[in-house]
């Protein structure tokens, strides 16, 4: 019983975790990405289409990452090259891509809302037979490939950010653009790359939603997870591990909320918890900053 719940929580964490890691990388590079929801949506639609068309999960994932990355790159170029406010551009992309996706569903497939082509290949799951039946650890069996991949990305991201030249350049771009320019690097291009990576990861997250369990696309499939991911990386500040913890927390919320439906806890209220947590975390950070400023 507990295994089923934990597994559900882990599976629900995956799209948030992937997107939040992308958002974290993007934010360290100097852009707060409000358009993650749009990139996720693009990835989810493309994954279903390619998976049904080619019967190949690998191709579907690749296509979803490319689609999300393309939306990310487009958004980044407007922000970096046309010096546009990233928040508004992000909101604009959220609105425009949601409209575009629905427009496509109506004109190309003649459906409103849900698109379920036949023969969608789903993400493979890995059975770990000797874990079955062991309490808690049993949850690790039957998990899909992207969930394992997402968690593998956490130490990888931490390593890349703090132990590689690329990570140093990225962090420098976010904290001191002028310095990066002075040593002869192109901060805007570095920033574009970080947004493209964020978009690709969000696209994969979208694929997890559409071809992870059910194999269909719905216009509301992302359900605000792009913004929950934003909450997770704000919670995580600069650390991939803390970000993962935040994503896990929200994944647990989601799984618990589904379990608790009909037990008196209203879903609408529980769903707002991630957002409440962000405000609390930001307030805490603000108080800490103020205290530090006073003592120094």
């Amino acid at each position: 019983m507990i295994d089923d719940f934990l597994r559900a929580a882990l599976v629900m964490t995956t799209p948030i975790l992937l997107t939040a890691l992308g958002g974290l990388i993007n934010r360290l590079g100097g852009i707060v990405n409000i358009g993650l929801e749009a990139m996720m949506l693009a990835g989810a639609l493309v994954a279903v289409e390619v998976s049904a068309g080619t019967d190949s999960v690998a191709l579907a994932l690749l296509a979803a990452a490319l689609a999300g990355g393309a939306v990310g790159a487009a958004m980044s170029l407007v922000v970096t090259r046309l010096r546009a406010n990233e928040i508004i551009v992000g909101l604009g992309f959220t609105v425009a891509v949601a409209g575009f996706v629905r427009y496509l569903l109506k004109t190309l497939y003649g459906v409103a809302g849900t698109y379920a082509p036949p023969g969608v290949a789903l993400l493979p799951r890995f059975d770990i037979p000797f874990l079955d039946g062991i309490p808690v650890l049993g949850a690790l069996s039957h998990l899909d490939a992207l969930t394992w991949g997402a968690w593998a990305l956490v130490p990888l991201t931490a390593f890349a950010l703090h132990r590689t030249r690329w990570g140093l350049r990225l962090r420098a771009t976010g904290s001191s653009e002028a310095t990066v320019r002075a040593v002869g690097l192109a901060p805007l291009s570095i920033r574009d790359v970080s947004t493209t990576i964020a978009g690709a990861l969000a696209g994969l997250a979208g694929a997890h939603l559409s071809i992870g369990v059910v194999g269909l696309f719905n216009e509301g499939i992302t359900g605000g997870r792009g913004f929950i991911a934003l909450a997770a990386f704000y919670f995580g500040r600069e650390s991939p591990w803390r970000t993962a913890l935040g994503a896990l927390l929200f994944g647990f919320f989601e799984a618990a909320q589904i379990r608790l439906q009909g037990h008196g806890l209203p879903a609408d209220i529980v769903q707002t918890l991630p957002y409440v947590i962000v405000i609390i975390v930001l307030t805490g950070l603000g108080i800490a900053d103020r205290a530090r400023a006073r003592t120094s």
């Binding site: 707060v32 409000i34 407007v78 046309l82 010096r83 546009a84 406010n85 928040i87 508004i88 551009v89 909101l91 604009g92 992309f93 959220t94 609105v95 425009a96 891509v97 949601a98 409209g99 575009f100 629905r102 427009y103 496509l104 109506k106 004109t107 190309l108 605000g224 913004f227 934003l230 909450a231 704000y234 209203p266 609408d268 209220i269 769903q271 707002t272 957002y275 409440v276 962000v278 405000i279 930001l282 307030t283 950070l285 603000g286 108080i287 900053d289 103020r290």
Partner: protein
């Protein structure tokens, strides 16, 4: 001097239309005939014009709410949440106290909507001024909280008895705002909204408060140095912005929807941001941009009826305008940053 602002406002719109044209052409539609049909559907004849102005009513106020905040340099993206809360509160007053006379009921509903919007922005305003917490993220998060909260209320405690969808009972007839041009749904809310936008124009140009808020928006440190209290101005702008957002929701509930339903706003608060940015916070600009976006909305609904172009083309156009409204094409001199 007179041409530059028009150019900077027209460029995003032209680019958005170009993107929309590309989408239409790629999906086998003739862009120009679609656009012509949209213009006819938005402005051709009294009824269509009334529909456009009805659609512009909430946008006048959400645009104004955003402009009031942006002008003082606060990036309030929380108007959407205020709109939901204001709408809910006004609707509840409208059906709970249905036996009150209209002269009492309507002001009570609208004032409460205004108050709840203002109160909702007190927290992010205080956090920004006291602790330096970025208001963009807090107000964005508060939107989702307001939407969840109102959705819970209309699904449970305030759900109309015997109603399957998430909605409050309809408001009393005495709470409904007067219709200006029956049978169209254009109502007194449009006049209230327009009057407020005009008042904002005068306030911004002619009063000390308006000057002060612009100064703080342009340079908070300088205005602090010359003895203004930027914190107070910023907090005030946040509260007024929230109040206008709440009022917008109240007017929408009493004027058009006549109840509160889940999904009350299709993003009016966010469209308001685009409007304020396109208008560069000017009153005239807000009025024009609101009518333009209202025209898009009302035309979009009709072209879906009369042609096979999905209504979502409007959403694509609105999103594109938002994106390009903040892009700088080198028409303006680069700020010394």
């Amino acid at each position: 001097m007179t041409l530059a602002p028009i150019l900077t406002a027209a460029a995003p719109f032209a680019l958005a239309l170009a993107i929309g044209a590309a989408v239409l052409a790629a999906t086998g539609h003739e862009p120009f005939s679609v656009y012509r049909l949209m213009v006819e559907e938005a402005f051709g004849g009294e009824r269509r014009l009334a529909a456009t102005l009805t659609a512009a009513t909430p946008l006048l106020l959400t645009g104004l709410a955003a402009a009031v905040a942006f002008r003082a340099g606060v990036f309030n993206v929380g108007v959407e949440g205020c709109f939901y809360l204001g709408g809910l509160v006004a609707a509840v007053v409208g059906y709970q106290f249905g036996d009150w006379p209209a002269a009492l009921l309507i002001p009570a509903g609208l004032m409460l909507a205004l108050a709840v919007g203002a109160a909702w922005m007190a927290l992010p305003g205080a956090l920004r001024v006291r602790l330096g917490v970025d208001e963009v993220v807090t107000t964005l998060m508060l939107n989702f909280i307001a939407i969840g909260l109102t959705s819970w209320l209309v699904n449970g405690p305030l759900l109309a008895r015997g109603s399957a969808n998430s909605a409050t009972p309809p408001i009393a007839a005495s709470a409904e705002l007067a219709r200006l041009l029956p049978p169209t749904s254009l109502n007194a809310g449009f006049l209230i909204s327009l009057a407020l936008v005009i008042a904002y124009g005068f306030w911004g140009r002619l009063t000390v408060g308006g000057f002060r808020s612009r100064l703080v928006g342009l340079n908070a440190r300088f205005s602090g140095a010359v003895g203004l209290a930027p914190g107070r101005v910023v907090f005030g702008a946040m509260i007024v912005s929230g109040a206008i957002g709440g009022l917008a929701g109240g007017i929408h509930a009493l004027g058009l929807v006549h109840r509160f339903v889940a999904g009350f706003s299709p993003g009016y608060g966010f469209t308001g941001i685009a409007i304020a940015l396109l208008a560069r916070n000017s009153a005239l600009g807000v009025a024009l941009a609101a009518v333009l976006f209202g025209a898009l909305t009302s035309a979009g609904a009709n072209i879906q009826l009369f042609s096979d172009v999905p209504i979502e083309i409007v959403q694509i156009l609105q999103g594109a305008v938002m994106i390009f409204a903040v892009a700088q094409f080198g028409l303006r001199r680069r700020s010394a940053a």
